[in-house]
Each structure stands twice: as structure tokens, then as C-alpha cells.
Amino acid sequence: MNGEFFIPLLAAAIQSGTPILFATLGEILTEKSGVINLGVEGMMVVGALAAFWIAQSTGAPLLAFLIAGVAGSLLAGIHGAVCLWFRGNQVVSGLALTILGTGLADFLGTPLIGQSAPGFGPVHLPTLAAIPILGPVILTQDLLVYISLLCAPLLWVFLYKTRWGLALRSAGEFPEAAAAAGLNVVAYRWLGVLAGGALAGWGGAYLSLAYTHLWTNGMSAGRGWIAVALVIFAFWRPGRAIAGAYLFGGVMALQLRLQAAGTHWPSSILLMLPYALTVVVLVLAARLERGSEAPAALGINIDPHE
């Protein structure tokens, strides 16, 4: 094992996987409430732009990060209105949200292309960083990495250990029964949609505040769609989402390093790797699945008055 190659690679895998982790956790939450939102890619780029813009104009990255969550929620709110109020088709509405979000970010972000903004850098903890392997890989990351790692267990606790989480899951599994039991199913679905949007917005914020400190168009490069696939791969479980996100982060980081090292593989072929892996991972997930692990009422709109 070549430490000089692998340790920076593992550290890069975490950085590259963090935006995907935020987005995957968000989509897990949304889908658990029974709503599928294919607008993740759109919410991510809008979050990335909002974060970049606020960081640049206020110089406060943490505030920018929080606002990115609000921006993601706002965009998700459109999906919520179309699907929960007007009972529109969830698949098509999510796609439209991605088209809208990508357009909005390109349109509003064009004047910012090539500029830079303050963001997050690695934290310096001298004693911890000296620990072999663990130090350089995980203990010298930026603050947002730790926030994302905290989000996964928090989401698990929320979903499986709180009454609200139970209610939200029942809105995704048995909405009629939940409504009959007196739960406000639509409200819990709103919670899933908005909170999921905030997490996707945070994933985008990571791209413009920590992964790069720049703004370019098309910054998300399909990460939102990979997140949608990872939800299936993770069987809707937050813990497995961490593994999946870092796997993809690893492949993206490896691909960049191979390009930089100048292999005889053309860069367009190397760039295909994460997308091809997504297909492989989907097939694997279907093989491993024991029963149907998707929320039973996923994508099915409900009529609150019937």
C-alpha cells in the first residue's frame, strides 16, 4: 500500500462524497414521507449559488451555509405545492424542478462566474491530526464534513426514535391508515419535502463553499442524480448512505487523480466512471434487496379530504 497515494485519496473521497451525502440524506427523509423528489440536482445548484452569493457579499460562510438550506427548502416548496396541494405527478414535477433550478442557477450566477468567495478550510487540531491514517483522512477535514457526518445519526434518531419520525414514516407507508388515526399526513409530507430540500441545498453549499471556493455553471455535474440512486442503494437507511456517498466520492477523486497523473486513458472515458458505477450500484441494490424496501406509498398522492 502506497500511503502517499492512498491517504490523500481517502481524504479527497470524503470531501468529494460530502455533497452527495447531504443530498442523499435529504432525499431519504423526503421519500420516507412518501414523496419522491427528482429535483435534487436543481436544489443542489440553487443551494450552491445561494451559498456562494451570501458568502461573497457578507463574508460569513456559516450564514451562507444556513441560507443555502433555506434556498433548497424554497425550491422544494414548489414541488410540495404542486404535489401536495395540486396532486400533480411527482416524477414529472421533480424533473421540472431540476430544469427550473439549473436554469435559475445559470441565469442568476452568470455574473459571478470565475469569482471566488470565502468558505470553509480544514480545521487544525494539532494533536489529533498526528494520529496515523485517521488524522490526515478524517480529523483534518472542514467543519461541513463533520456537520454532514452528524446529520446521518441525527436523521436515524429522528426517523426511528421519535414520535414525529414515526408519524412521518407512516405518512410514507400507510397514509390512509395514518390519516384515519388522526395524523395530518399532508403536514408530515410537507416536513419531509422541506427538510429534504434544506439538506440538498446544504449539499450544494458544500460544492461552492468548501469543495471549491469558486462559482461555475454546471457545478453539480449529476451529483443530485447520483444521490437519488444512492437512496435506493442505501435501502433508505442513513448509515448506508455514508458508505455509498464516500464510495462515489472515492471514484470521483480517483478519476481526477488518474487524469492529473496523465494515464493513457482519455479524460472523457475516465469521467464516465461515476455514472457507470451508478448503474452498477443500482443493479447490485436490486440483487441484494430482500423485499421491497421502498416506502409503500412512495410517489402516490393522497386526497386529504376523502
Partner: protein, 355 residues
């Protein structure tokens, strides 16, 4: 709680459907005008430029028709798949593969006469686009892989494949380093109709649309497809061959998008280069849904969304508005239509006092 309750309508009033479309367009235009205002651009003048650019001259309308051709073919394919409730989001990639297939034939046999080469290119595009539709179909049937994500990932892969070819083995040595193939031989270029600026791809669109309409209307297979799309469970129960229908639909869907790629490479830019990918495959999804999957309405909706693209080009020139403006419009129109359908499908009545 409001004293109103919603109920599902038995029949949709035609006038409600007629109102939804203009309302959605109007609402989307209003939001876009607001966005222009926010950017410090003249909003009313901007919307005026949008219309003038799209419909202001006979050249503009011709341009709309030319851009409607690839959108129409892709959208026809998307609609066929959506009918069977197969979510083919992959028209963009299938379009790219069609362009690649047609280019392969054009570069391989540049000397063949047009009457042989053009059908060969069309066949290659149909096969390549069809293959890109076949892969997700097989993965869905055999591996239960979600077709939305597989078709989307294949879009990214197809565009990178196109890049690989034009940056690498197909690059024209005389292109001064630009990523593009050599210009096609005259025999490989779809001709113009008379002395208009339109090309014969338009005729191909009309013919394909007609054939598909007849197919759904009069053939047994077409009927099976329609029936399965309307009620999947019942169709399976009645023993309709769902698996074969799915494969067929995805082959057809991919092949049609492939043809769009063939026409763009051959008739519009006369070579293969990365700028051929402008998102027609995604616009096609918007069109298919606006048209409620009906081939005739798809023709009209393709023209409208092509007009939007032409209008946005005018905005770009005159007000330096980024091209992404078109994407915002497309997303907004689709979202407002989705929400608006509610008013066609549901009605209100006074809530009765609880007994």
C-alpha cells in the same frame, strides 16, 4: 377548514383544459419578467423581444420550424414510453447516440450516393439510439434497475462518448485543434426543400407522426400499448406481453431520438461537434407532458417550445440575457401546467354539515 371540499370529476370540462394552458404560459412569463427586472433589465421590452424574436419575421418562423424538428422526434419517443408508464428521461443520450451512429456511417462511406448513404445513416442512427433505449429496458426487466436513473446516467455517458470521439479519433486534422469531425460530404447532407431554408427532415417528422398515429389507432399492437398504459395491472391480468411491449417501446423511443440526432448532425451542422447537444432531449419531456402524450398536440407544443428557444436567442443578443432563461421558462411552464391540471381533474363543492 374551508367550507369547500374537492371531488374528482367524472369528466373534464373542455373549457377548463383550454384555460389552463394560456394561464400557465402567462404566469410563467410574468415570473420571468420579474426575474429580468431583478437583473436590472427592461422586463416588458424583454418579453416583447421574446415574441418578436420567435414570430417577428418569416426567418424567425422558419427557425422555429427547424428547431421544432428534433424536439418533435424526441418528444414522440418520450411520449410513447410515458404511455406505457416507462419513465424514459434518456432522450438526450439517445439523441447523442443517433448523431454518433449517423456520423459513423457518413465518415465510413463518404463516397456513396445520397440515396444509399442517407438511408444508411438513418438506419445507423435508429440502431444506435435504439441500443441506448434497449439497455435501460433490459436492466429494468432483468435486474429491476430503476429506468429513470439508468436513462439519466446514460445521458451523461453518451455525451462523454461523443466528446471522446470528437476530441480523439474522429477529430478533423484540419480543424485547428477544435473538437469536431470533418465536414460531411454533400451526399451525407439532408437536402433543403426547394429554395426554402427548411430541410426534408420536416417531411420525415410528418410521416413519422402520421405512422405512429395510425399505429396506435388501427393496429393490434398499438391497441395493446394503449391499453397497457392506461391500466398496467389489468393489462398484465389480461395476458398482454408487458415485457415485449416494454422492450419495443424503449427501442422505438430511443430510435426516434436517434433520428433527431441524425438530422441535427446531417442537416443542421453538417458534422459532429459537442455543441450539437443543446438539451432537446430534456425539452422533449416538457413537450410530451404539455401535449398530454397526444402526437398531434406534440407537433404544436414542439413548435411553441422551439419558438421559446428562438425568442431567447433574440433576448441573448439584445439584452445579454443568459441562455439559461429558456430553462427557467420551461421548468415554470411544466410546473404550472402540472398544478393547473388539478383544476381540470377536480372540482369543488360546498362541504356538507357533518352528520
Amino acid at each position: 377548514m374551508l367550507p369547500l371540499r374537492t371531488f374528482k370529476r367524472q369528466e373534464t370540462h373542455w373549457w377548463v383544459s383550454c384555460l389552463i394552458f394560456p394561464t400557465a404560459i402567462g404566469l410563467s412569463l410574468a415570473i420571468c419578467a420579474l426575474l429580468l427586472k431583478l437583473q436590472g433589465k427592461p422586463a416588458i421590452q424583454g418579453i416583447g423581444l421574446l415574441f418578436q424574436g420567435a414570430f417577428g419575421s418569416h426567418w424567425a418562423i422558419q427557425d422555429c420550424l427547424l428547431k421544432a424538428i428534433p424536439i418533435f422526434l424526441c418528444s414522440l419517443g418520450v411520449a410513447v414510453a410515458f404511455r406505457l408508464q416507462v419513465w424514459n428521461i434518456g432522450a438526450e443520450g439517445q439523441f447523442a447516440l443517433g448523431a454518433i451512429g449517423a456520423t459513423a456511417a457518413a465518415l465510413q462511406w463518404p463516397g456513396l450516393p445520397g440515396y444509399a448513404l442517407l438511408p444508411l445513416m438513418a438506419a445507423a442512427a435508429l440502431a444506435a439510439g435504439g441500443l441506448w433505449g434497449f439497455i435501460p429496458a433490459v436492466l429494468k426487466l432483468r435486474m429491476r434497475a430503476n429506468e429513470i436513473i439508468v436513462t439519466l446516467m446514460l445521458n451523461y455517458i453518451a455525451i462523454l462518448l461523443l466528446d471522446y470521439l470528437v476530441y480523439g479519433r474522429w477529430k478533423d486534422p484540419q480543424s485547428f485543434g477544435f473538437p469536431m469531425t470533418a465536414i460531411f460530404s454533400d451526399n451525407a447532407i439532408v437536402g433543403r426543400i426547394g429554395d426554402t431554408g427548411l430541410h426534408w427532415g420536416l417531411a420525415l417528422c410528418v410521416a413519422t407522426g402520421g405512422v405512429l398515429w395510425l399505429f396506435f389507432r388501427f393496429t393490434r399492437l398499438g391497441y395493446e400499448l394503449k391499453a397497457s398504459g392506461e391500466n398496467l395491472g389489468a393489462a398484465r391480468y389480461a395476458g398482454l406481453p408487458y415485457e415485449r411491449l416494454l422492450i419495443l417501446v424503449m427501442l422505438l423511443s430511443g430510435g426516434l431520438a436517434g433520428w433527431a440526432g441524425f438530422l441535427e448532425a446531417s442537416a443542421t451542422i453538417n458534422r459532429l461537434q459537442p455543441s450539437i447537444m443543446v438539451g432537446y432531449g430534456y425539452t422533449a419531456i416538457v413537450v410530451a407532458w404539455l401535449a398530454r402524450l397526444n402526437p398531434l398536440s406534440i407537433g404544436l407544443a414542439s413548435f411553441l417550445l422551439a419558438a421559446l428557444r428562438v425568442g431567447v436567442e433574440n433576448l441573448q443578443l439584445d439584452l445579454q440575457v443568459p441562455a439559461a432563461f429558456g430553462g427557467i421558462m420551461e421548468g415554470l411552464i411544466l410546473l404550472t401546467i402540472l398544478a393547473g391540471s388539478f383544476f381540470a381533474d377536480y372540482g369543488w363543492q360546498w362541504r356538507r354539515r357533518s352528520a
